[in-house]
């Protein structure tokens, strides 16, 4: 057991400050354990959002020593404990209190994505036949636990506050999951270009770096979606085709 100092953000809305707590740290503990100990013994009203404590629900997102992480999956032994450990809320979303932020933006963004629409069933009994390879191709996106750490680090949101016209990397992953779903027949490409701000992403790959599920967000989700936009809107052959059929270009 060692005594470790934690600098934890306290406050509501616009105001706030770092409060220092000293807590005992034992074998195998993660940051969320330390926060719980502080809550139980020193600060009962310290607000923190969490659920499964196993890296599966994506509730306990925070910034630990400045790095966006899940508190439940960050082992204290991976941090320099000779220095105070800083725990802050995510920055891209409005603060509710202490470590809890208002992430409703992400839920609203998801509502803008057209829902799943399957092709007609393949068999008479109403079921489909799908190859395992096609299932595996989209697995990566379907692992998303909606922790929103990717959107937290995205400069379009964090620095430029484009929450209105931009659905964020988490929802690009969702769009990719639908677009590459072997049964889906919906078209989301024009929405992505026109109202969901796919073009704002300039591929800095910050989102990929922080994903706790190791989803290659930029390369595997966002870039292929951008390519689909290019194919549909900027492909010279398609454009030529549209010139000859002007009534369809509207």
């Amino acid at each position: 057991m060692a005594q470790v100092t934690f600098r934890v953000w306290r406050g509501e809305g616009e105001g706030g400050y770092f409060e220092e707590y000293t807590s005992e740290v034992g074998d195998g503990m993660v940051v969320l354990d330390a926060i719980h100990d502080i809550q139980a013994e020193q600060a009962p009203d310290l607000a923190v959002r969490w659920n499964c404590k196993a890296g599966k629900c994506g509730s306990c997102s925070a910034e630990i020593n400045g790095m966006p992480k899940l508190m439940c999956m960050t082992r204290l032994s991976s941090l320099d404990l000779t220095q105070p450990v800083t725990v802050e809320p995510m920055k891209a979303f409005p603060l509710v209190k202490d470590l809890v932020t208002d992430v409703s933006y992400n839920y609203e963004a998801k509502m803008k994505i057209k829902p799943f629409k399957p092709r007609k069933p393949d068999a008479e009994d109403g079921t489909w036949r799908i190859q395992q390879d096609d299932v595996e191709r989209v697995q990566e996106f379907r692992k998303c636990i909606e922790c929103f750490l990717c959107s937290d680090v995205c400069h379009v949101l964090r620095d430029h506050h484009e929450h209105q016209g931009y659905i964020g990397p988490a929802m690009f992953v969702k769009s990719a999951a639908y677009e590459m779903h072997p049964l889906d027949v919906e078209d989301r490409i024009s929405d992505l270009k026109e109202t969901q701000g796919l073009g704002f992403c300039n591929i800095t790959k910050c989102c990929t770096k922080v994903c706790p599920e190791h989803i290659t967000i930029t390369d595997n989700a966002i870039i292929p979606l951008k390519e689909r936009v290019v194919d549909e809107y900027y492909d010279p052959l398609t454009r030529l085709f549209k010139i000859f059929k002007p009534n369809k270009s509207k």
Binding site: E12, G26, D27, G28, M29, V30, D33, Q39, A40, E41, P44, D45, L46, A47, V48, R49, W50, N51, C52, K53, A54, G55, K56, C57, S59, M73, R75, V96, K97, D98, V100, D102, V103, Y107, K110, M111, P115, F116, P118, P121, D122, G126, T127, W128, R129, I130, Q131, Q132, V135, V138, Q139, R142, K143, I145, E146, Y178, H181, P182, L183, D184
Partner: protein, 604 residues
């Protein structure tokens, strides 16, 4: 002056947004009634995300000998025949359709070679039966229901906790709640209410359950006069993590054993080959080679003993530890790395079949499961008992109050088979949603007494209006210690009585719980309100357990290690007596029809 509250009105409200709650909401909404969902967490975070192994449904895609009759018989045997056979029938018959429907809403399952839904082996299921996607089936399920549900015109009230149901006569007409975020009070008026709040694993110290599992639904139903059933039956999953201490209890999926993982003691013995229960002897492999053939799809092989029912495997691990053959941190070794003897590229095979497990051990315990064994031991996992419901409609003993999923009782009896939970959520979630909507259509608005709501407001504010008092976290921790030691995997009359005394003492202290701070996102206050629920379900559990003087399924009594004839004849009911005390009574097990008896006999 009284604190204000906001009123919402719906035909049907659903409390809880895991698999069962979401399925109920989708069904109710499809019937044209207005639906509001209230959930304690953010949408999509409910405990269903933790489910790993899969969803049991006898589609027969891998072994065409499977069918609903076999699934029914397996469920009955696993439940030790004291479950509700009518629910087991509905479940076995309807599960395949619920899986297909999920696929139509966008869920993607692993496939067979001919492109159909792949099914995997699991403990207690005769044939490969679990539709799955890797080891994150629960996430796939909740996300599919969530993403489908948000476009169905349902209102979601996130991070809202219900503290009381409100009745008019014997009919439920509303629910009183608070918003976690700002502490504002909300009153929901409804013609019918579905409870789908999950279990109460947080009553124990070592549990695979998330923080939300504080027995809220069981308690508000009990407080409203509903019967609780079979509360003594708690499932201790045999394989939870045991090291390091801070992750103790986190689930290690049964899928590890389904993929060929074996259990060993410190002497390197596969101890599960000893003491196979008589009713499973004919279907269990008697050597290692046969066990391996089974998990790799040989239809003529019997299953390895690691895939016996959870109650049995859990007690076997405890026995090894007690007799000094445990792993360094008090568990057993679960080894999947050994399959390299049979599979060339075992490392990538394991990573593909069990990706979350690989991750979980790498990141939390720094163990590479493709190379070394895991240390595992029992963890509190599932409540078989809960709110007593009608097998067809899922209505409780209170009019207009329905329950489905883990918070309801009946399907699983003394022991639940792995994979039967996710299918339970869908089958009975749908039924509850449907019947709640029908009830709402047939009944008018209820009346809520405003003065009563004012007392509920006051009661909720009490922990913050005190100047000093008991630390709610300390009460919760003491309860968890007591339940772990005295009402866990091995129980005795003396221990259970001690636990009941402790619960009474903690109740008295909880009445004086103190939460400093204000109503804004105040976990101390939330905990102070939650402990009433934890104490209520714990008391119901201990009272039920003390009167069941036999061992059966998840309930093991040291003084009575065997099953009794009498024990197979009744279920335990707990309800609130007119004087406010908890009364326990026995009721006869729902009788099987001749057809059911024949099916069970044919599938012995």
């Amino acid at each position: 002056m009284t604190t204000p509250y906001t009123t919402h009105e719906y035909d049907v409200i659903i409390i809880g947004a895991g698999g069962a709650g979401l399925r109920a909401a989708i069904e109710a909404s499809s019937m044209g009634v207005s639906v509001g969902v209230i959930c304690k967490s953010l949408l999509g975070k409910a405990h269903t995300v933790m489910a790993e192994g899969g969803m049991a449904a006898s589609m027969g895609n891998v072994d065409d000998r499977d069918g609903w009759k076999v699934h029914f018989a397996d469920t009955m045997r696993g439940a030790q025949y004291i479950n509700n056979c009518e629910m087991a029938m509905h479940h076995a018959k309807e599960a395949p359709e619920r899986v297909h429907e999920l696929e139509a809403w966008g869920a993607l399952f692993d496939r067979t070679k001919d492109g159909r839904i792949l099914q995997r082996n699991f403990g207690g299921h005769k044939y490969p039966r679990l539709a799955h996607v890797g080891d994150r089936t629960g996430l796939e399920m909740i996300r599919t229901l969530q993403d489908h549900g948000i476009h169905e015109g349902i209102d979601f009230h996130m991070e809202v906790t219900v503290t009381h149901l409100i009745k008019e006569g014997n009919r439920v007409v509303g629910a009183f709640s608070y918003e976690r975020e700002k502490g504002r009070f909300l009153l929901f008026k409804a013609k019918a209410i579905v409870i789908a709040t999950g279990g109460f694993g947080r009553a124990y110290k070592v549990t695979s359950n998330s923080w939300e599992y504080t027995g809220d639904g069981q308690t508000i139903a009990y407080d409203a006069g509903a019967d609780l059933l079979d509360m003594e039956f708690v499932q201790f999953h045999p394989t939870g993590m045991v090291w390091p201490p801070s992750v103790r209890g986190i689930l290690v999926t049964e899928g590890v054993r389904g993929e060929g993982g074996i259990l060993k003691n410190s002497e390197g013995n596969r101890f599960m080959f000893e003491d196979v229960p008589p009713n499973y002897q004919s279907s269990t492999a008697d050597n290692e080679e046969e066990g391996w053939r089974y998990v790799t799809g040989d239809k003529h092989a019997n299953r390895p003993p690691e895939l016996l029912t959870r109650d049995h495997v859990a007690r076997k691990i405890v026995k090894e530890v007690k007799e000094g053959r445990g792993s360094p941190h008090g568990g057993a070794f679960l080894d999947i790395a050994w399959i390299k003897e049979h599979i060339k590229d075992s490392e990538s095979h394991i990573k593909k079949k069990l990706p979350s497990m690989y991750h979980q051990f790498m990141e939390l315990a720094q163990v590479d499961i493709t190379k070394e064994p895991m240390e595992v031991g029992p963890t509190t996992h599932y409540a078989m008992g809960g709110i007593r419901v009608n097998a067809d409609t899922q209505m409780s003993t209170v009019d207009g109050l329905f329950a489905c999923g883990e918070c309801a009782a009946g399907l699983h009896g003394a022991n639940r088979l792995g994979g039967n939970s996710l299918s339970d959520l869908l089958v009975f979630g749908k039924r509850a949603g449907e019947h709640a909507a029908l009830y709402a259509k047939e009944h008018g608005d209820g009346t809520i007494d405003a003065a009563h709501v004012d007392t509920l407001v006051e009661e909720a504010l009490a922990p913050m209006s005190r100047q000093d008092g008991e630390n709610p976290y300390a009460i919760q921790h003491e309860l968890q210690d007591a339940m772990q030691d005295l009402a866990g995997i091995s129980r005795s009359e003396a221990g259970l009585n001690e636990a009941i005394e402790k619960i009474h003492a903690l109740k008295a202290r909880a009445a004086n719980a103190f939460a400093p701070g204000n109503r804004d996102y105040n976990p101390g206050w939330h905990t102070a309100l939650d402990i009433h629920n934890l104490l209520t379900v714990s008391e119901a559990l201990c009272l039920s357990a003390v009167q069941r003087t036999e061992s059966r399924g998840g309930h093991y009594r040291e003084e009575y290690p065997e099953k009794t004839e009498e024990g197979s004849s009744y279920n335990t009911v707990v309800r609130k007596a007119p004087d406010g005390s908890m009364e326990v009574e026995r009721m006869p097990v729902v009788p099987q029809t001749d057809e059911m008896k024949q099916i069970i006999e044919d599938n012995k």
